[in-house]
Symmetry: C2
Subunit: 207 residues, 2 copies
């Protein structure tokens, strides 16, 4: 009775490769259409596999989505975890902004996958938001408050300061088509954003 779950056999190389192929294709499709809007047909076509073959590697459409989301959440929170209470306040925050912007630039589909999930009311990650994310943010907000009380950064509501970092960086990934449509050709949105956000947060954080 102790070994109810079957022992997890290590995956062969070809299995690992196919799983990765499927996840990459699913990320592409889910991030554009959301969970319900995406179809296994689309994912199969992007992956270059047959539909039943997808379901040989994953038990269901939802399982693929859950797998994507859970690996995503970790990557997503890493930059905030790295915010060092012992570091220089302004530089620590600016580093965080930079890392977040790099995530938007290098993993825009992950950003949109997450945005889709939140827009839909976070049916699959509300637990993570309310527990893991909340406690992490509360912890780092306390650090920000401490820095503010010490007069090392401006006195701002720490949670909203963090929201502003999320909003400003993720905007460039989630609203990419709008940003590019408005800027017109010949622009590098992320390069420009990098300088702009550096200026913005330096001015904002100055005590």
């Amino acid at each position: 009775m102790e070994d109810e779950a079957p022992a997890e056999r290590p995956l062969t190389r070809i299995q690992q490769k196919n799983r990765q192929t499927i996840l990459a294709a699913a990320l592409e499709v889910f991030s554009q259409h959301g969970f319900r809007g995406a179809t296994l047909d689309q994912i199969a076509e992007v992956a270059g596999l047959s539909k039943p073959n997808l379901l040989y590697y994953f038990p269901s459409k939802e399982a693929i989505h859950v797998e994507l989301l859970s690996t995503l959440m970790d990557t997503w929170l890493d930059p905030l975890r790295a915010l060092d209470p012992e570091g220089d306040p302004v530089e620590e925050i600016l580093d965080y902004v930079r890392r977040k912007l790099e995530l938007s630039r290098d993993y825009p589909r992950e950003s949109r996958l997450f945005a889709n999930e939140i827009l839909q009311g976070a049916p699959r990650v509300s637990e993570v938001l309310e527990v893991e994310l909340k406690s992490l943010v509360d912890e780092k907000a306390a650090v920000l408050s401490h820095w503010a009380r010490a007069g090392r950064i401006a006195d701002l509501p720490p949670h909203h300061l963090i929201f502003s970092i999320w909003a400003l960086t993720q905007h460039y990934a989630d609203f990419d088509v709008q940003v590019r449509a408005v800027l017109g050709p010949g622009h590098d949105p992320y390069a420009e954003a990098d300088g702009f956000l550096d200026t913005l947060f330096r001015k904002l954080l100055a005590p």
Copy 2:
């Protein structure tokens, strides 16, 4: 041959009311699930009408979505249109921020509908973005540049300044569940955001 399109009969009161009921229900559903994720069944249930009855008032699912989007786009751009080149620079921009935040607070579903459309690559509004929105933003960006050259606001890339207003205000509507999950109970996100964004943009715009 000149009157190919049938003369548009004015709608009866009951027709207008039902159309509005359907659009309200569709807004609810589309804004949460996106176009492909939404179903006529869901919309019909929310509207309290039968599915064929929906299609008596609108020729197709897409027609409902297009109707919602086009009325939305006008409302959405109004606050930026109202930015007055003759007014006081900082107060004009802060008024714009306030009006945008009020839109997020009072019309969060419209904000999410738009966000969904952009996330999906703006298949139905890319024309509007590239023409109407771009020319409006270019026009107002010129105003911001003029103010900056006159030393009345800080010298910042005007397009990205406008992006930052969009990102910071829409975040509270589009990521509402995340904001509330992180803040926990007993908070009024929009009231707090109002004060925070006022502070943020006053510091940012100071020359």
